[in-house]
């Protein structure tokens, strides 16, 4: 039994820069498209509005008060989830399950091109007593330490990360939303300048401006609005020892993703995700995290993801396609909207609207997101399409 249904999607971007619009206009654009897609009037049909955002990204304190107008939420229940967009979606599902809300809108946006000191904001996310004063030369250092821990645990090496980076970026060439796609070889990546050993700049996703809005409805109402509802069968999210205790992090692993996945699978009645679903969209802002996530999601045996990836099991026409969109490595990291970009790609696949990268068999999908360094929060959703 589905918990909720996505009856409309709208987006703006993702692109490296969007100088033609303000962040609120981006939200307005995505919301207008989502409401048109769903055929709903936000002022009459939508019961509540959820925005996923963080103050520092916006350059505004108490930025949640900037949320209502662009999505049509003035004088209506509107609130912010300070987390990834998939966490906001989880809240929408819970609201619908209470029976008090028929339709909830979920939005998340990012305009990193407006943030003149994005690196310093990442610095500010580090623990102020134990880590920030040490002055790590790159606040994304967690990626490199996690990568090394994964290598030590599994026997993977830098060539496996390069393979992921090359595959994702090439795959993105078929996706008009993948601004960071490109043809690059493993040798080019391995020969390129390192950023943080063992990672090169190809292993780390760029940043993208984007806004994504979803219209989520009670499942029994979905077909009243659309012939292509996408059903949410399960959703879970969890936080590990968080940013304030990054030193307690389980390096090279993502236990929050495992917990989120098990919760989502349990709700969806899924035992083996590989045989029960057709594909996955997985957040991969650095190449090692895709391999780690595959293991935490139960899509690869412990310590084996790099070997299966090397065998082509997750290719576009492989045994279990992962990120036919090119993932974050090809589409970019849109801060708190990153998870909704993964979800958007899965929804378009399930509706048969993915275009040049449409999979032939796409009825049930897993979507997984992680907020990225230095945070340790994951969210996982199980979706099924109209033909499932």
């Amino acid at each position: 039994m589905a918990k909720a249904a996505i009856i409309g999607v709208g987006w703006y971007g993702p692109r490296p820069t969007t100088p033609e619009v303000s962040f609120r206009e981006m939200v307005f654009e995505a919301a207008s498209r989502a409401y048109a897609d769903a055929g709903v009037d936000p002022r009459k049909d939508v019961d509540a509005f959820i925005s996923a955002q963080e103050d520092f990204w916006e350059g505004i304190a108490i930025a949640d008060e900037f949320a209502p107008e662009p999505v049509g939420g003035v004088l209506r229940p509107t609130f912010t989830v300070a987390g990834d967009g998939l966490q906001a979606l989880a809240h929408a599902v819970m609201m619908i399950e209470t029976g008090m809300f028929d339709i909830v809108a979920v939005e998340s946006h990012a305009k990193p091109s407006d943030i003149a000191t994005l690196g310093e904001i990442y610095d500010l996310a580090l623990d102020p007593l134990h880590i920030r004063p040490v002055k790590p030369a790159n606040p994304l250092f967690m990626m490199a330490l996690d990568a090394q821990a994964y290598m030590l645990r599994t026997g993977a090496d830098a060539s496996h990360f390069a393979l992921v980076s090359a595959e994702e970026r090439v795959r993105g060439l078929n996706n008009p939303r993948a601004s960071f796609a490109g043809k690059v070889s493993i040798d080019e990546i391995l020969d390129s300048e390192p950023v943080m050993d063992p990672l090169t700049r190809y292993d780390i996703a760029g940043f993208a401006d984007a806004s994504v809005v979803l219209v989520v409805a009670r499942p029994d109402l979905a077909e009243k609005y659309t012939s292509k509802p996408v059903y949410i069968e399960g959703v879970g999210f969890a936080t590990e020892t968080g940013t304030g205790t990054l030193e307690w992090h389980t390096w090279g692993r993502m236990p929050s993703m495992r917990i989120a996945a098990l919760r989502a699978y349990s709700q969806a009645g899924i035992g083996d995700p590989l045989s029960s679903t057709d594909f996955a969209e997985v957040e991969d802002r650095a190449s090692p995290y895709l391999l780690m996530s595959l293991e935490e999601l139960g899509l690869a045996p412990e310590g084996e993801a790099h070997k299966l990836y090397e065998r082509g099991e997750y290719e576009y026409d492989g045994y279990y396609p992962v990120n036919p969109s090119g993932g974050s490595l090809a589409m970019g990291v849109a801060l708190e909207a990153t998870g909704l970009l993964r979800l958007l790609e899965a929804v378009l696949q399930l509706r048969g609207e993915a275009g040049a990268h449409q999979l032939s068999d796409a009825e049930r999908a897993i979507v997984a997101s992680w907020r990225g360094p230095p945070t340790t929060t994951s969210a996982v959703v199980v979706l099924s399409g109209p033909s499932c």
């Binding site: 102020p128 134990h130 040490v134 790159n138 994304l140």
Partner: protein
Amino acid sequence: MSWWKRALPGDLVHFPGSQEVDHYLYTPGLHGLKAAELLKAGKVPGMLCGDQLILPPKTFCPDERLSEGEVVEVEGPFIAALVTVIHEDFYGRKLEEPQVLAFITAQGAIGGYIGVVKASPGDVYPGMRVRPVFKPEEERTGAITDIAYWEPVAD
């Protein structure tokens, strides 16, 4: 919406602004104060949660009981369990000197410190023994920066 977007560079305007985010007084808390005393004395602070050593000390233990730990001195030995050499900053600018950054833990401990290791990038590896080098006593303030850096210890 879409029909009146401007795209000519001369039409695009930005309004520079700033967030006052770099001035803040961080309260270390009771455990933090004890840790500060140890740092000032040239000792590495840790926390005992039952028999388990945890680095660094916080006010709470990473266990199921949400219990409080006891701040203790950690004598080592210390191990750079994970080591990366950072070549570029967040903006892709090459550093004048690569920075060796490590996750440093103590034998049998959960957690560790993120620290700079003063060593040639070619000489560092995960699992290497390191030790803290403290600033001179008169320069210490009770902050983590009282550890000036970590240095390799010959096996």
